[in-house]
């Protein structure tokens, strides 16, 4: 565990002392080495227990995939930001990479935390570098608004969580995840206990986001620079899912009744946000709403508390993280060339950038959950366990899948096919850096097809 964390912390002074010419290449290679060495976490002998134990940190089969995803994403973020950050003074570039690295450190600590308060503190701590990235390096004046929404939605949701955790600490004596699963909490019948249940899950539902509390997400995703969008879509949303899965185990048996409205919100959100996607004109906004749609499915899968549901949720989180991040990178390649995120103005790109069109194709297919990609596995497991919970959910999830396919294809056809406007005939050809970036996103996705046990969690 410390084998990965200490090098990541040491990346911080490295960034500041490396000569300017080698800044990006050294940061990239360093983080790539950390990413490859984080793959050792995947080799665990036991399926259910904790591995790589430490006094405060450990990994188990739920947090391992998310940890590896986090570590994998840092070199990708550095690759993606290289172009637009190169126009800035050198110290700002260093500050930018430093922010990405501190975000990485907080995320590793959050996913591997064994103590719930430590998880909570790291959960909140990730907000700060993200806020700085959005408001300082974002592109428009609306980024201040976006940062405010992002910060306050999450903070308002997580303050009740702090109270609830301290309450739990008082009553159970410990908040260590290793032992919390084994201490049964009884007498959870009064109204106060119901409020406590809501306080526990609300923070994570806002972070996921659940459909009713999702307003911060399109703003934050659209206004953030590419690295900000990537980390937000790929990992920060999954913090919510992960936290909910950890905390739910101790909230039985209240979840059986209290989760109803939230499952309803989640399922309805899939359809609503999917429909909003069909009307979007801004490419990044469309990918942001598609994130809300997928995470609605994840939220529903976690809330019904069945083995297949949790497994499906975890698989979908990993697959969606990679897919969404890849789509944001593709949208960024568009943006860097035409300086516009409007889909109407950058059409017919297949003629101009054919390899990029191939990546767009694969990423769109992954978004609409094409078999045999893990996106489909996750969705299918969630949909079938929801069907087992109540047959009527099939209506909502079925229509949701249809709309997802609709807008994914719409996005692909709008950007790649169609008439080529005369002002984008002479575009820069695709850089190798961009091709490598998308390839590194899609490679794990395709490899996971062959060994899904890595991301199954505790499924038997």
């Amino acid at each position: 565990m410390l084998k990965i964390l200490i090098p990541t912390i040491m990346l911080l002074p490295t960034i500041w002392f490396v000569p300017p010419k080698q800044l990006w290449s050294s940061a990239l290679i360093y983080s790539l080495m950390i990413a490859f060495s984080s793959l050792i976490w995947l080799k665990t002998p036991v399926d259910t227990g904790w591995s790589f134990l430490n006094l405060y940190m450990a990994t188990d089969s739920l947090s391992t995939p998310l940890l590896v995803l986090t570590c994998w994403l840092l070199p990708l973020m550095i690759l993606a930001s290289q172009n637009h950050a190169s126009a800035e003074p050198i110290n700002r570039q260093r500050a930018y990479i430093m922010l990405l690295t501190t975000l990485q450190i907080f995320l590793i600590l959050a996913f591997s935390a064994t103590e719930l308060i430590m998880f909570y503190v790291m959960f909140e701590a990730t907000l700060i570098p993200t806020l700085i990235i959005i408001t300082r390096w974002g592109n428009q004046t609306e980024r201040l608004n976006a940062g405010t929404y992002f910060l306050f939605y999450t903070l308002a949701g997580s303050l009740p969580l702090l109270v609830a955790l301290l309450l739990l600490q008082n009553s159970a004596g410990t908040l260590s995840l290793t032992t919390l699963h084994y201490t049964p909490l009884s007498h959870l019948t009064s109204y106060a206990h119901k409020l406590w249940w809501a306080a526990c899950v609300l923070a994570f539902l806002v972070k996921m986001p659940l459909y009713g509390a999702h307003l911060w997400l399109p703003k934050a995703h659209v206004e953030a620079p590419i690295a900000g969008s990537m980390i937000l879509a790929a990992v920060l949303l999954k913090l919510g899912g992960y936290g909910m899965m950890r905390v739910m185990t101790m909230l039985e048996p209240l979840t059986k009744e209290l989760s109803y409205p939230f499952i309803a919100f989640a399922l309805w959100g899939i359809i609503m946000t999917g429909s909003i996607c069909l009307r979007q004109t801004d490419l990044k906004s469309m990918i942001a709403y598609s994130s809300v749609s997928h995470m609605g499915l994840v939220a529903a899968g976690i809330l019904i508390q069945t083995p297949w549901g949790s497994t499906g949720a975890l698989i979908l989180m990993i697959a969606h993280g990679l897919t969404s991040s890849a789509l944001f990178c593709l949208a960024n390649t568009n943006y860097e060339r035409t300086h516009s995120r409007t889909m109407l103005l950058a059409r017919g790109l297949q003629m101009v950038l054919p390899l990029m069109a191939a990546w767009w194709f694969i990423a769109s297919l992954a978004n609409l959950a094409l078999p045999p990609l893990p996106n489909l596995m996750g969705e299918l497991m969630i949909i079938s366990s929801l069907f087992g919970w109540s047959p009527w959910t099939l209506l909502l999830t079925g229509i949701g899948t249809l709309i997802t396919a609709g807008y994914s294809l719409y996005m692909f056809l709008m950007t790649q096919r169609g008439p080529l406007p005369p002002h984008i005939i002479a575009l820069d050809p695709s850089y190798s850096r961009e091709n490598l970036l998308i390839f590194l996103h899609l490679l794990p996705l395709l490899l996971m097809m062959f060994k899904p046990e890595l991301i199954w969690g505790w499924a038997a």
């Binding site: 592109n139 004109t281 300086h339 409007t342 109407l344 103005l345 406007p421 002002h423 002479a426």
Partner: protein
Amino acid sequence: MSAWRRLHVKMRVIRGFLASTWVTQRHSCRCGHLNFCRSLSTGGPLRNDFFKELEASLAAMRKKAADALPGSSWSPLEINPNLPPERADIVIIGGGVMGWSIAYWLKQKEMVREGVRVIVVERDPTYSQASTVLSAGGIRQQFSLPENIHLSLASADFMRNINEHLGVVNEDPVDLQFNHSGYLFLASEDVAHIMEKNYETQRYAGAKVSLLSPTQVKEKFPWINTEDVALASYGLENEGWFDPWTLLNAFRRKAISMGVTQCCGEVTDFKYVTNVMMTADGERMEMKRIKYVKVQMPNGLEYQPVECAIVVNAAGAFSGKLAEMMGIGLGPKNSISGIPVPVEPRKRYVYVVHCPNGPGLDTPFLIDYSGVYFRREGLGGNYIAGVSPEEVEEPETSNLEVDHQFFEDKVWPRLALRVPAFEKLKVTSAWAGFYDYNTFDQNGIIGIHPLVNNMYFATGFSGHGLQHSPAVGRAVSELILDGNFKTLDLSNFSFRRILTQEPMLERNIV
């Protein structure tokens, strides 16, 4: 006056809230309108509009509340509220009728709401030097190029149904004051064959034009002196004149209601990236791509770089100067980058004359073969007249001062010859305006520049831009959003003819 008003108010109170009252107002017409929210018809509003007044009174209440509350409105971020947004998809430089027409059509053609972000940058909100409002406002189909005829036909159709296109809900309808009086071109013996050929082209393109012999002209319009006239061409439909200020404001009002941002500022610079490429012949070409448009605020040093994907040059008479900011025309002389945009301002005078015994209400827009033209203006016996000066006598373009001697020397003699009633007239006023004159072939330039990847041009119409503006706006929006012309094929107006030095001459330039 005030007693009458008081009586009105009392009656309003008596009759109750829901009854309508008749309030008359006097409006001054034509130039001088800065507030485009006022009605576009020249009469006044006939009814009180509850919702319009409600908005205004709510805004006033809010302002009063904000003033009454403690605390000042100082903020540490002293941002000029007039600055354009930091980014837009399409920046249209030039807020004349061409620029606003393109903005309207871009918004009309986007398939979803807020599909494209358009801003129109205009440096002079009073339009004191803009060609649009200083134009004589005529529209005709009598051109020699079929494309020009089609453009005029499409624009006339647009303007006849203008309220379908440019009507805004809950606002007054647009009244263009389109006088369908037609154009009458008079040809002498030596140019009569050109007029016949043009007539055939015009009829083939669908314009309703008729050829008249001198006797027919005399029958129809007895006040004309048909000496030396061999042939006349009279437009029967879709020709006449209209109010250009109304058209401009109609486009502007509708475009703003559809979400176009208006910015008052001057474009001083472009930030662009250059890509050096070699052509197949080994010639070195620099392809430029505009990344930012630097807009400077009037009366100050503040500026805002507007990040944009596409720039449309609709700056009219000043398009050539704008293109120079991009380095077009500043390259070596025998290369493509050495060919400038051949648009420059040319001053033209218009004189308003009063003649009590002049031609009547059915006076067409008469254009003599010498180039002198006149048309009726209003119903009080006023006419406007002018002529295009010879190439060698072009007036200087540093200001819009009128040369009254020009009228005495060049306009009045031929005018009086053609219309004997005009021997006794009085010049009541005059103004001057710029033609965005295309020195190459006096026809518009529509399309993308070969060296600047994202700059579209819609300029150089040399005096017939206003009448083509709705159709050109539609064409440019098709180019931008659909990639190609859809309704009218104007590819002959592209930059290619300037690069290959093949002029597309229009014979009927007034």
